[in-house]
Amino acid sequence: MALSHLAASASRSSSLLKPLSSALSLRRPISGDNSPLTVETSVPFTSHQCEAPSRSVETNPKELLTFFRDMALMRRMEIAADSLYKAKLIRGFCHLYDGQEAVAVGMEAAITKKDCIITAYRDHCTFVSRGGTLLEVFAELMGRQAGCSKGKGGSMHFYKKDSNFYGGHGIVGAQVPLGCGLAFAQKYSKDETVTFALYGDGAANQGQLFEALNISALWDLPAILVCENNHYGMGTAEWRAAKSPAYYKRGDYVPGLKVDGMDALAVKQACKFAKEHALKNGPIILEMDTYRYHGHSMSDPGSTYRTRDEISGVRQERDPIERIRKLILSHDLATEKELKDVEKEVRKEVDDAIAQAKESPMPEPSELFTNVYAKGLGVESFGADRKEVRATLP
């Protein structure tokens, strides 16, 4: 990757080292400063029906270190979830995001919590980037009261309305019209904010997506459709499912951009560009070229339809965390040891959250009957044996 401002960074690094070493002695996490830094994306953007943004991305040491920490946290979280699932503490579905962290982290860096995000079931990391805590994640996965949906949703149904994260959806493709609806409401309310509706390469062929895109284009909605193309819809490779796997072009009259989804800075640049576009000109499609290391879900080994060489190849060449690590090290923003310490801290945070989540009790039996309605009107509801179990809905 191109390294600009080498000379500048040398002088900067000397001033950086002082606060860092004192920080280390107090065991505070390294944070860096806001001095501007320009980095080039791995590859230029490819565009459809629009002019691509520049591949020079403005960033700063603080942002890069935050990217590293956040992605390391997400990575550790997903791997811990894998272990919990195998230990049968997590049941049912568990779709892991490791490999795709740069999309969540880069997107968040380009927007505010007033912008909306909606995604499908691979939602753990998106929830965290929107401000969800590790405790809420692990408790929800294990079906406990401290979970973000009080244990009643599960892996696929994380929500955080106060930071405009609208889930967490199990039906492939459904989240796209819902996301366009959020954009409609933002425009109706004159909020000057946008919605990012994420979907996979598998969902990209859904009819309702094109229906929603058509309406969004007709009504100029500030909707940004983000295809997280990890190249496999469950076990089906993209070339077997889509006649045209150029997902950024599938909007036809809607402009699109193809982005290296393993490069958090490219993601950030693309999302910033998309937000400006959507507020002025209506919908736009971003295709994030990304990769998941795990299979589709915990029931899928992920190696029957892909070779182990392919998976390890991506891990070696394109891993998003390694990219940022190399960037930080080459700009002397932190030492290798400092970054390893961050990873250790993050691991401890995850372990602590899991321990805390295990302490959280399962929901009270009465919770079976809560939240069926926002306004239950005192109506009766029934258990399996209605002569035995009845409840009044509040």
Partner: protein
Amino acid sequence: MLAIARQRMLGQSFKKILPAVSVLRSYSSAAKQITVREALNSALDEEMSADPKVFLMGEEVGEYQGAYKITKGLLEKYGPERVLDTPITEAGFTGIGVGAAYYGLKPVVEFMTFNFSMQAIDHIINSAAKSNYMSAGQISVPIVFRGPNGAAAGVGAQHSQCYAAWYASCPGLKVLSPYNSEDARGLLKAAIRDPDPVVFLENELLYGESFPVSDEVLDSSFCLPIGKAKIEREGKDVTITAFSKMVGYALKAAEMLERDGIYAEVINLRSIRPLDRSTINTSVRKTNRLITVEEGFPQHGVGAEICASVVEESFSYLDAPVERIAGADVPMPYAANLERMAVPQVEDIVRAAKRACYRSVPLAATA
């Protein structure tokens, strides 16, 4: 000149009719008559006026003035930002409506008929009905899905299905079905104000029918409670439950039964979910006999649920088996004579009531 003269003549002949109406007003509060269409239109108008978050979307709701003219005049009054004509893409626009409700707006989504709602049913059930539960109360969905339901006249199998039983089986939804103008106004206003997703099942053939309404019903604050049935006609011998157009048929059947000395109590369900089990059971405990009437398919229908409820709650009060009158167990045929056989008629309700009262010999069971 001639046109003005003609108008004045019409106005005068109108004035001759009016005094009769105002005389009526002094005797009862139910003087004015409005059609169900006017009732729905005025309810939408008033709720849109009261709450800027309420907006309409659907096919032809705007410039066409509504496929059945229910939304007439609303585009002109509220503008294209609040009355939105959609392309013919139910899955897409229903999802958009639900997403807008997630954000806090109050959409009223029209299906030209509920047959087309099947294209969007995933959004109604999985995106709308279940969200409040799955999110433990974070995401409520204050949306109304409305439109004509059930059979019209001669529209054939794909355009005649009743969806009451399907939607009413789903926890998280509320399902309402008005009969007359008072129901239409009160229930639609309640539906729009309710914070949960409501399926509002109208009937195309009732749109043009007029019913008397009191001043209270015409007031913009008028609202009917969700989950409460109405006893349209009191009786002591047999209970007849019905909703939508079948209420009118049940009332006619009750008149015919009275001539034979059978006094039927007619219950207008108004709310299919929540079902007013209390009113139904109280009535059956009084009359000891029950006929359920609906237009839709019989298997797993609304009548089946009512029968089960009564058997569970009031078994020892039943003096006769519960009778179900429903649409025929076939796709709706087109030919007029077959169509007539495929939907309940007043005679069917009368016959069933007489069977329940042991006034007729039941048909021999099939071998």
